[in-house]
Amino acid sequence: MIEVDEAITRAHQGEWARVVASLAKRFGDLDIAEEAAAEAFTVAVERWPLDGVPPNPGAWLTTTANRRAIDRIRRESKRDDKQKEAVAMHDDTPHEPLGAIEDDRLRLLFTCCHPALAPEARIALTLRMVAGLTVPEIAKAFLVQETTMGQRITRAKTKIKAAHIPYRVPETADLPERVSGVLAVLFLVFNEGYLSSGDHENSVRGDLTREAIRLTRLVRALLPDDGEVAGLLALMLLIEARRAARISATGELVRLDEQDRGSWDLALIAEGHALVRERLSVVANGGPRPGRYQILAAINAVHTSVRDARDTDWSQIVALYDQMIRVDGSPIVRLNRAIAVAELDGPEVALAEIDRHLGPSLDDYHAFHATRADLLRRLGRSGESRAAYDKAIELAENAAEVALLTRRRDQLGRS
């Protein structure tokens, strides 16, 4: 039974998007595709324990989903004649060759991340259609009501159909721009997994980070020479590598300098470093200037290249943040630079920089207050530090982070 369960889980991870994508292409309707795919997996859960796992689970699921979709279209007499014709015409379409899997998934990914859809709908749709998360799971991840999330996804599906958003990977000329939109969605999915706003036990959602990495790998297979794709993949790998070390046994966030570096995933770090080196050599040989993901990956490569946090090359990190500010001069980037400056030039310099430049614009951002609290604590200004911790705790959404901030604040009291 365990083997069958594993086969179903594996099939869900490996085949869900493919089944949805091939049905979407065939019937021109994401709604039908999604429902039929879900039904096929329900049938698998019922049948596979009795009949055994089929030799080609993907083909079995696609065929089953196709039959379900055809049944539904036949049942619904209101379907227009053209769609009925499509059913008749394609009734015996053979299963697509295995080589087409990645194409199908990519096509679906580009459709779900189409710029004509609202940004929040792109993420939701990608998680539902490509990653196969259920609507309640997605609603929970983003702290919205199930009905709201359901409506958001339905609305997006309706628009794709009515506005004829195509199911395909964009033309070469349009790819760079469309890919940056896809990367933005994948990074948001990753971040939601990494620092989720959900409850305690879900402070880190491994399923979301893994799925984001998997999809980024797919995009990289399509565009192996794209620096930002490589950069985002490297960035995700280098962050994911530290996942186990990031939450303590008591469910508290563990900051980079206090993590047990022995529990980092060395294979992921090696892969991430290799990608960063690849990009550095391209840039060194006159390639395009690195964008945000490549710079962030380089910063994470510096962090992950020493076994002891005290050996961190902070001057290189500050230099990389200077480079980052030229790409994106937002207050959040400046805040992160100031955190590095605190290590290089001391907390007083960093605090002065933060208070001089960032105050009003980041007043609603928990990390701004958490950073100030930390710097004030290091400067021995306990009263001000406590006030800043209070503000940070009030604004933070991640349970593990709240736990860390609360402990730090309470330790102030005892000192």
Binding site: H114, A116, I165, P166
Partner: protein, 124 residues
């Protein structure tokens, strides 16, 4: 193929302004020329169905023929800050093509363009 309405919007007061709200006569003529060229291109590529500019919304008439006697009212359907000032109907393979054409249309006519699908489905 799928049909879309590309529409351009603006305040009704533009119709009374010198150069119809364009910054200068030169800019207006340049925009007319660019829009003409864009229309020619649509024709050549086989995407063109129809295009025209609309007269001021205050010249519109609303008719309600649902009752026994038609009710005729002067003015546009709804009072708004901006009204549709012109439109294209195009017949293209999908939204990606429509968005690309809308980008060109917007640059030519110097206004934002709304892209709205028609309900008729794609031709088989």
């Amino acid at each position: 193929m799928a049909k879309y309405l590309l529409s351009v919007w603006g305040p009704d007061s533009d119709y009374e302004k010198e150069n119809y709200g364009y910054a200068s006569e030169e800019e207006m003529l340049k925009s007319f020329e660019a829009t003409g060229k864009f229309n020619d291109k649509l024709q050549e590529e086989g995407y063109f169905v129809f295009a025209d500019g609309l007269d001021a919304a205050k010249t519109a008439t609303v008719v309600d023929g649902q009752g026994e006697k038609p009710v005729i009212t002067d003015g546009p359907y709804a009072e708004a800050k901006e009204y549709m000032a012109g439109f294209w109907i195009i017949d293209v393979p999908d939204l990606d093509v429509a968005l690309k054409l809308a980008t060109e249309a917007s640059a030519a006519c110097l206004g934002k363009v709304e892209v709205r699908p028609m309900q008729t489905g794609p031709e088989a």
